[in-house]
Amino acid sequence: MDFLISQNYVNYVCQCGLLKPLTNLYFCRHCLNLRCSFCCHHEVDSHFCRNCLENIPSSEAKLRKNKCNSCFDCPSCSFSVLSARATTIQVPMTVKEKQEGEESSTTTSEASSGKMVAKKMYYLACLACRYSSRDVGISDQASQNFCWPEQEYMHANRFNTILNYYQALVLHDKQVKQDEKRRKTTNKSKFQSMTDRTGLNVSAIRRQMGFDKTVSKPKNKPASILPSMTEEVEELSEDIFTKPINLKNITTIEQRFTQPANQPESVKHLYPQHKNLSIKRSIRCRHCEHNVIKPEYNPTSIKYRIQQFASSHVPEVRIIKCYPLMPNKSAFITLKLTNPTMNDMTITIMELPTDDEEVMMIDEMKKNFESLTVSSKSSLMRPSLIEDPRIVSCKPTAKLELPDSSFVINQRDDSAEFDDEIQTDKKDPKFVIWRKANKIAIELSITPNDLKVNDEVIVGFTMHYTYSTVPSTTAEKKDSQQRHALNARVYLNVGNIVDYSTK
């Protein structure tokens, strides 16, 4: 019943050698090969907040440190989002309201000064763990979306001083070096590069410490910072030995890390945290640099600008049923093949390549790729790298009897969807059980190897299919359609060996 798991009974071999279900694979139309998310290149396409579903331009996202302005995560339970709750409080009339009030009423301002009006105030609350912004002493706000007080980082100033100091120091050091170069003073010792590399650019510090007297003191030497060492060390409070602790008031490490800057130890300092943004990504084939997926910007859109799913190009194999499997005894499996394309497909089922052949395939692929990059290597482009293709980790544990002839699956026809008629074609070879529009059911015989009870039975085959490229633009002529013969390696997990003694 669980379709998310059951998908994985049928796996296709991606060109990089990984086994994946067809729904997780892409088909690069330019290389005519299967691709998966592992062997493709991912890029951030657009940023959005997954709570308010607003698209945020990347420059703005960067400025806001990839956080959403208006949504807050609960710092206490980390999996839920805080929602703004409204309360009405009675506040004394403000001057402005007073004036409005005066217009409508005849009472004097003196008399109305004690008058109270209802005002809507907002606070943030978590509906899961009942955390509320009032818990940590944030006062209620008049506006729902903005002006929640930002937390201050206690080390911010000191950090900025140090950062400025170092940046000035390095810049200064660079200037000194350039000056030296200009003067052509060869002051370099061969040990310098060693220490240079390891860290703080020793020469700079030595100079600053006054060790290196040969360098004249340049103009804008950054002022050094007072050291921070202290004898004072935070003492353990005596209370800890006598007072019982309340676990509910001490944060867990997970809660602390929701605020990496302050890492509060008490729940009283758990402040609402701006929600981290999410991304939409586009995926690019590493071989030809074409996109296989490019989503739309709109965060709520489920459409793609470019989508090259393998499931809409490669015939899909499904297991309909399988007879009980016993070691060394042949059994029948029924497979359903679906043609997702608009052209008829001729399919031949063949043996999987042997190990040697597989190695040869990989070598050839590498060579092809290298020749490709060498030939197309422009001076500006940096060479793209591919993932090293691997040998398929899965080994079949049963022998498949190959059908003696190839067969044709009709093209997809959306209008035929409502035809439930099962067609049987006399011309079809014997192993074809039925046809229905673009689907075909075939029956094959398999013989599991010498396996034990409950061992998985895996069969594999190479599916040789014809594929016609559809003209990508309407401008192209129809006869530009090309036919290709492609291969896909398919591994089926047909079930486990049954215990025949109980039968």
Partner: protein, 368 residues
């Protein structure tokens, strides 16, 4: 912050510190990491552990998460800085990381920064005794005038892991079921209930004198059980860092050992510039305890005439101890020194990462 970004580079470098328990990630020039998340590469926590996926695949998955779920940047053509414990990071791991980042993610350059050294830049000093107490081990390395004194390096498996083992063993002795004590639960017990006690009480405890124990805590585990955490465990669980035996390998001893291996004229300065970093050093009371222990040691008969130091002083970095190293990397990478990284072009020519033994200047140096 935008000022620096425009002045120095358009895309700020990514700074990571992949610890054995937690990974700190963020951008250079920022005052704190954006995220601290559990390290999800099993081989780092436990090098010998047999895992289904190899290190390369695990690292791809983990970096995928870092780039696309947390930092939200395309790694292509980005600069990456790694803060790492140079001496203790296995070559296999750093080379795998380099391969993953250059091959799979096509980053522009990688800069490996020695943890102990860059930690100093958070204080703008160039001499300190850096004590890193992490999850797997405590590593001590003196840095003098910006040079790491490698021969004085000290490391002992004193850290989060040994504390966790201690807590677990002691709770099981008290009759708590093994299966409810997951790593997460043990860590939570440590973080929320345990602390480092005072020296006097620790001595009394060691000598089996009776002291008034601190209060017990009833700790609910996953809603299915309530276990009692005895006061003794809360107070003395972290004593594993301060063992008193004939090996003399407790934290204070190895700190003194590190100092003693340094030249005499540098010792005083080092002892007065101690910097505590690493996750375990955020435990309550550890700093004051270390100070007391060290003071006792330098006045002890054995060290009196060898050490020639009179006091110890500690630094307070502008950070939480668990990301001090990261912060150093952030400061360092925000300067122009990041141009000293290994670039992708160079890596593709010589796929080798220089380290302490093998150093080939050609792969790190750009011309100039």
């Amino acid at each position: 912050m935008p000022l620096f970004e425009t002045v120095f580079q358009e895309k700020p470098a990514i700074v990571m510190e992949i610890g054995s328990a937690y990974t700190k990630i963020g951008f250079c020039g920022e005052a704190h990491p954006r995220f601290i998340l559990p390290t999800e590469i099993e081989s780092i926590r436990d090098v010998l552990k047999k895992t289904e996926k190899n290190l390369y695949d695990q690292a791809v998955d983990f970096f995928n998460k870092i780039f696309f779920d947390y930092l939200l940047v395309s790694p292509k053509d980005r600069k990456v800085s790694f803060v790492e414990s140079t001496i203790t990071t296995p070559t296999l791991i750093r080379e795998s990381f380099a391969k993953v980042l250059f091959h799979h993610f096509e980053v522009a350059s990688i800069l490996f920064l020695p943890l102990h050294l860059v930690s100093l830049s958070t204080l703008a000093i160039d001499t300190a005794l850096v004590v890193d107490i992490g999850y797997k081990e405590a590593v001590i390395l003196p840095v003098f005038n910006g040079v790491q004194i490698l021969k004085a390096w000290q490391a002992q498996p004193l850290g989060g892991e040994s504390i966790h083992d201690g807590i677990k063993a002691s709770l099981i002795l008290n009759g708590v079921k093994d299966e409810i004590l997951s790593e997460r639960v043990i860590e939570d017990i440590k973080v929320r209930t345990c602390f480092v006690t005072k020296q006097a009480r620790a001595v009394a405890h060691r000598n089996n004198e009776s002291i008034q124990p601190c209060p017990d805590v009833d700790y609910p585990v996953d809603g299915s059980d309530v276990i009692k955490i005895p006061g003794n465990l809360r107070e003395f669980a972290l004593e594993v860092l301060f063992p008193e035996d004939n090996d003399y390998l407790g934290l204070p001893y190895i700190i003194i050992d590190a100092i003693i291996k340094c030249p005499v004229d540098s010792r005083k300065e080092l002892a007065e510039n101690i910097l505590l970093i690493g996750g375990t050093s955020s435990m309550m009371g550890i700093k004051s305890r270390l100070r007391d222990e060290l003071r006792t040691l330098i006045k002890s008969e054995f060290y009196m005439d060898r050490l020639y130091i009179d006091d110890v002083k500690f630094h307070n970095a502008p950070s939480k101890p668990n990301f001090t190293g990261w912060l150093g990397g952030s400061i360092y990478s925000a300067t122009d020194l990041i141009s000293n990284s290994i670039t992708r072009e160079n890596y593709l020519k010589h796929p080798k990462i220089p380290d302490w033994i093998f150093y080939d200047g050609s792969s790190t140096r750009n011309q100039g």
